[in-house]
């Protein structure tokens, strides 16, 4: 009997003296895990800052920023459709048929133009398939590109600047005021009203009868 006892495992005695420590650990551990997961799983961590490598070193900072080409020159369906088109190669060749015609950076563009195969641009912003997002509903009613895509005119390579989570959509749908501007400035970057944006937005929303909806069927159908 005593033989068996000596062979079996026994917790060391000193463990008794650290029982308060263990209790503290048992309390802090779960809190730690919850805080960590909340922090690590938030869309701010997982979604923001995604910046895929693109097949052509195309720069918005140059074309939209320095050259000041309007977003709609390339994304020309943005005021009419749900989808803001990525421009076909033809659009690049409007200018690059006679600018930088030999540039190695544009090799893939010329190749695509000659063969008719699309340039394999990598998608940056991508909502799940069960969400219906509509660009024209926002852009023509006074939400600028900047509110959802950030300062694209300063990006060498496009990255995701906003969370694009459901909470983020709803945050603005509940209180869109600070993000509103006259639709003719939708593509302008760094636009701000002369007065307090909240005051301007409230007046603008009332004048234009803006009332973004929050019921599930607005975005899920």
């Amino acid at each position: 009997m005593s033989d068996k006892k000596s062979k079996s495992f026994q917790f060391p005695k000193w463990l008794n003296t650290i029982r308060p420590h263990l209790a503290l650990g048992a309390l802090v551990g779960p809190v730690y895990l919850i805080v960590l997961i909340y922090y690590a799983w938030s869309p701010q961590t997982t979604m923001v800052g995604y910046q895929p490598v693109q097949p052509v070193p195309y720069s918005h900072a140059l074309h939209a920023g320095e050259l000041g080409i309007d977003c709609q020159y390339c994304h020309y369906t943005v005021t009419e459709g749900a989808h803001a088109s990525i421009p076909p190669t033809q659009v690049c060749m409007n200018c690059h048929a006679s600018i930088w015609t030999e540039s190695p950076k544009l090799l893939k563009v010329r190749e695509s133009f000659a063969t008719g195969m699309p340039i394999p641009w990598v998608r940056v912003h991508d909502l799940p398939a069960f969400v219906q997002f509509d660009h024209s509903a926002h852009v023509t009613r006074g939400v600028g590109c900047e509110s959802c895509h950030g300062r694209v005119d300063k990006m060498e390579v496009v990255f995701q600047d906003k969370k694009l989570s459901m909470a983020w959509c709803l945050e603005c749908h509940r209180a869109p005021e600070v993000n509103l501007r006259p639709p003719e400035f939708a593509t302008a970057m760094g636009w701000a009203p002369n007065e307090d944006p909240a005051v301007f937005g409230a007046r603008f929303a009332a004048e234009n009868n803006l009332n973004p909806r929050e019921d599930c069927s607005t975005c899920h159908y």
Partner: protein, 216 residues
């Protein structure tokens, strides 16, 4: 007795517990070329193709199918020569098509569209000094032909239909904009170019008599 290694080990454990936070903080502060790790896929990706998605089934890799050659989609029959080609009896039309009304709202639309699509090359007044044109000239590569000014007699006398055709199909070294600009918007741009030409070639007779004093 608590063993001597207990407190140092505990301290190390607490320090290690901070490492995940540091990693996450770095992830939040930097950009990453990798897509987010998705452990649970929910129903994020459907089987239906979305706009401009690739589809390996087709040789050109496009899920969105272009129109088959020689076919006309419903509602896309463009039989009206005046409206869609700017021609009447085979000649360039000098008037706007009957379905297009020239008014203030249309001119405003024309200005807005002009400043999106034409401004980079032709400039605000149509003199041909757009910023892309200036940059291309500065590059001195010898491949750029600057746009011509709208303000010559030749261009002022171009029929409206000719300018419409220039936008739709391009001319000489100017690329075609038919893909990017809708038909009604092309006519609106034509009207705006007419306004630009008037504005840059105005005489005192164009100013209403009661306002002339203000100009002196």
């Amino acid at each position: 007795m608590i063993p001597r290694w207990f407190y140092p080990l505990g301290l190390i454990a607490v320090c290690l517990a901070l490492v995940p936070f540091a990693v996450v903080a770095k992830l939040r502060a930097t950009k990453s070329p990798d897509p987010r790790p998705q452990i649970i896929w929910d129903m994020d990706q459907g089987y239906a193709y979305q706009s401009q998605q690739p589809n390996a089934l087709f040789r050109d890799g496009r899920a969105m199918r272009p129109e088959v050659n020689g076919t006309v989609a419903r509602g896309e029959l463009r039989a009206d020569d005046h409206m869609y080609r700017g021609k009447v009896n085979g000649e360039f039309a000098t008037t706007f098509p009957p379905g297009i009304e020239v008014n203030r709202a249309m001119l405003a639309r024309g200005k807005e569209r002009y400043e999106v699509f034409c401004l980079p090359c032709h400039g605000y007044t149509g003199a041909g000094d757009g910023i892309v044109s200036q940059r291309a000239d500065a590059l001195q590569q010898g491949t750029w032909i600057p746009p011509i000014s709208y303000h010559s007699d030749e261009l002022r006398n171009r029929p409206a239909g000719h300018i419409f055709n220039t936008i739709s199909n391009g001319i000489r070294t100017m690329p075609a904009y038919g893909l990017q600009v809708k038909v009604e918007d092309r006519w609106a741009i034509v009207a705006y170019i007419r306004a630009l030409q008037r504005s840059q070639n105005a005489t005192i007779d164009d100013v209403p008599a009661n306002l002339r004093d203000k100009l002196r």
